[in-house]
């Protein structure tokens, strides 16, 4: 019972991470993000995807359980770096909010801690993106 619930939560996170990965790949292709920042963010998201796929396998799930279509807003967001940074900021904020819920809910204590370390990374991504926009790194 608990295991299947954990599986669903991990699948949700994997889908979310795959959307972030696609967004940063597209932004790098279209020069909609500073390459150094984009490479770092993409490398982190790829590592999160790999970690979640491993966790899914360990929990008895299948790899890449869902296919997803890029959201239509992404195309609009790719028109310039500032627009993409604001789009990415929103996606990262959603990611942090989702991880917060999952980290509290997931039954495995080991996974809670590990997923929390990804959540903290996504929170730091928000800081990096605000910094790239020339905004204050911390907002209330």
């Amino acid at each position: 019972m608990a295991a299947s619930s954990d599986l669903e939560l991990l699948e949700d996170l994997l889908a979310l991470e795959e959307r972030l990965t696609s967004a940063y790949e597209a932004a790098l292709r279209r020069d909609a993000i500073d390459p150094e920042l984009g490479d770092m963010l993409l490398a982190h998201e790829n590592a999160h995807v790999e970690g979640l796929q491993r966790a899914l396998r360990d929990t008895g799930g299948r790899q890449s359980p869902r296919a997803s279509v890029p959201p239509p807003e992404l195309n609009t967001a790719l028109r310039d770096r500032a627009t993409f940074a604001r789009y990415a900021l929103e996606r990262e904020a959603q990611a942090v909010a989702t991880y917060r819920l999952v980290v509290a809910q997931i039954a495995s204590a080991n996974l809670r801690q590990a997923l929390g370390s990804i959540m903290a990374c996504e929170a730091a991504h928000q800081v990096a993106l605000r910094n790239s926009l020339g905004d204050r790194p911390l907002v209330d």
Binding site: M40, A43, H44, E45, A47, H48, G51, L52, R54, A55, V96, Y99, R100, L101, V103, A104, Q105, A109, N110, L111, R112, Q113, A114, L115, G116, S117, I118, M119, A120, C121, E122, A123, A124, H125, Q126, V127, A128, N131, R136, P137, L138, D140
Partner: protein
């Protein structure tokens, strides 16, 4: 020009803060009200650490200037809110939240901060320790509501850590897993 503190010295200071937080040395433990295993003791440890961190930021503020100072003060304000939140959670479990030491007592355990760079390095180490403590708490706390609160604060600590790194000219995140790994 005065030499800057080394990372080892900064870590020593952060370790001192953690010792103060976890061992108390005069910090009262949460009262006898909460039932064993409620999570009150763990929350008490987090609260003691938050008290030490608030004191540490006040010391950092003395050598920081400009944007770094503005951000440090914003972080300090958030840490104060964490203190209030943890106090409420402990009381909700029937516990007595531990009070902190005096700023002077804390200051004696911190490294000497001569420059803004020293202060940011010290703050980075403190934020790493806090984040680790909250993520350990998320793993251990028995109640969903308490875990949600700890996760919410941990996310903010992740932002603080990213901020003090950016203020040092470093990437906001050191790697894909800020503490631990999946």
């Amino acid at each position: 020009m005065a030499p800057s503190i080394t990372r080892r010295e900064a870590l020593g200071g952060a370790a001192a803060a953690l010792v103060i937080a976890s061992c108390g040395g005069g910090d009262p433990a949460p009262g006898g009200g909460p039932r064993p295993g409620s999570g009150a003791a763990l929350l008490g440890s987090l609260l003691a650490l938050e008290h030490a961190v608030v004191a540490a930021y006040a010391v950092c503020d003395e050598v920081l200037r400009g944007e770094a100072l503005r951000n440090a003060r914003a972080i300090e304000e958030r840490e104060r809110r964490h203190v209030t939140r943890l106090q409420g959670l402990i009381r909700g479990l029937g516990g007595d939240p531990p009070s902190g030491r005096s700023p002077e007592e804390y200051a004696r355990t911190f490294p000497r901060l001569r420059t803004g760079r020293d202060a940011l390095r010290f703050a980075e180490d403190l934020e790493q320790r806090q984040l680790r403590a909250y993520l350990e708490a998320v793993a251990e706390l028995p109640d969903l509501g308490l875990r949600s609160a700890a996760a919410e604060i941990a996310a903010e600590e992740g932002e603080h850590l990213g901020t003090v790194r950016v203020l040092q000219g470093l990437p906001a995140a050191e790697g894909p897993f800020v503490t631990g790994a999946l």
